[in-house]
Amino acid sequence: MPESPPKAALRIRNLRKTYKDVVAVDGLDLDVPAGECFGLLGPNGAGKTTTIEICEGLTEPDSGEVEVLGFHWRHHAGELRQRLGIQLQETQLSEKLTVLETLRLFRSFYNQGPPAAEVIRLVQLEEKQNSRVGGLSGGQKQRLALACALVGEPELLFLDEPTTGLDPQARRQLWELIEELKLAGRSILLTTHYMDEAERLCERVAIMDHGKTTALGTPRELVASLGVEHVVEFSTGGAGAKLDMAALGSLDGIRDVKTENGSVLMQATELHRAVPALLAELDRQKLPLTELRTHSATLEDVFVTLTGRHLRDE
């Protein structure tokens, strides 16, 4: 049997970091047990990258305590660098090197780990191993970046927005890879502003806004905490201004009503009662229905409810 892994992959207490007059991280607490895939969710500027870069030892916090795999950056930087796999946002690897050359370079920094060729196989870049990095697609570059994070056989992986800017197919390919790493028992901390990514990959997520966590739990728990299961979205064309909002709010099975970009969003507990009631009410107000959509509540709705903004508002 292998030695027992440390209980916590990551332990953060009262972390603070300020840039000039912007508070990037404002008293953050976080625990990630070993073997968990944990997601930091939030819009741009929420402090996700600052947090992850402090954990990676790339940024000095102003105050607070960070324990990574039971080590502290101040005393065990060398030890930690050997044990972490890191993928940064927006790293451009040298375009003139080939995939294999790039991985041999990164492999040479680590005391242990699989041979470069094995990692190339894992991220399915065998056919591209002698191609220049400059000629890879976005998804292939991102898989190469992940491979660079894996060559040292890390105990803890930091992935900062691993699928941002990728097309849907490339994203799914990367998700499958990350799921495989989870199966192999690695601890992972990833940041994302894609809700579906967090719901699919993460055991637990923390929603971050303005440098703090505003909610923490499994995706299922967070959605359940809304107390609603469905969201109804409709629009009445140009007649939206005449809509009687108060009347809508008192309909059967409706919790909360707000307007957004000309359409109305309602949180509903029971769809089969809410929709007929809505139709009847619009009929009574003599307003046309030009669009009607419903979906099950997601982390996105949790975020909107918590902050009043969308995750990808910018």
Binding site: G57, L88, Q92, S94, L105
Partner: protein, 362 residues
Amino acid sequence: MNSAPALIPTTRKSVKPGRRALMDHPLAQLTLVRFREFLREPEALFWVFVFPVLLAAGLGIAFRNRPPEVLQIGAVTTELARPLRAEKLLDVREFSPAAGQRALRDGKVALLAVPGTGGSVLYEYDDTNPEGRTARMLVDRALQRAAGRVDPVGSTDRILREPGSRYIDFLIPGLLGMNLMGSAIWGMGFAIVDARRKKLIKRLVATPMPRHYYLLSFALSRLLMLVVEVGVLLGFGALAFKVPVRGSLLDIAVLCVAGSLAFGAIGLLISSRAQTIEAASGLMNVVMMPMWILSGVFFSAQRFPDALQPLIKALPLTALIDALRANLLQGASFVQLAPQLGILGGWMIVCFAVALKIFRWR
């Protein structure tokens, strides 16, 4: 996805570092990267290896030594022209007085000889023009001798046209120094700033890579490239123009290494904080431009006013070029080159120390 082999993460086998092939050493890998990036950039290859040779060839041909030039002069009477034709270094033409004036003004002749009053001669020429002054001496000597003057002191000439005193001999060490400066500063500056701009430095710093290996890989690749660079230019000079190499090759090697390290340190300092290629190239030009002009690459630095000389002598490129010239052309020993080596060493230590202090690793 099931076909891909899963990595086994839970145990960390205690593999002893260092028991790896030499090529898998991080320093070897980093240095290899430097070479690959350089060799895969055809433009860089041209500027470092081909351009200096083309420049040397072009200037060597343009300024090649020609047989002594014959000076064009004019005379307004046949009596004056006849004795002058006996002088081999003069090409004498006869003019009417007005046409002679015009030819002198247009620079077609360097001097016009006109009969003066009472059997004397009047020379008209521009005394700021070396050709005019030379013509004045040759014409006067020819006329005086034709009139019967006997020189009291006999004299004979021995002509020396030896390699070592020609323009190309002066030029090759200058180009060598300029090339060492350019490739060190550009090579270092662009590579580092580009890596910083692409967040590649930050990514490397996030690995266990020892930071000094990163900088050392630049020095190592520079030194290996140096052998080719210096060899190409010196070899070309020696083969095509018979430029002498009078000092020992070991001394040249030490000089080139010292120069390269000094300029490498300057390049490191220039690129230690710059975040964009534009900012870095501006800085590089500000640093290199004065030295291209002041340090005696194409013409002697002695032409600048005396007050500037101490400043010019303290420039690293002046030190390197002076030392290379003294070594190649006069065979100067190390002891004689100590001041120049001292200057290069000083620049290297100061720039390297400051650069390390302020280097932006992200």
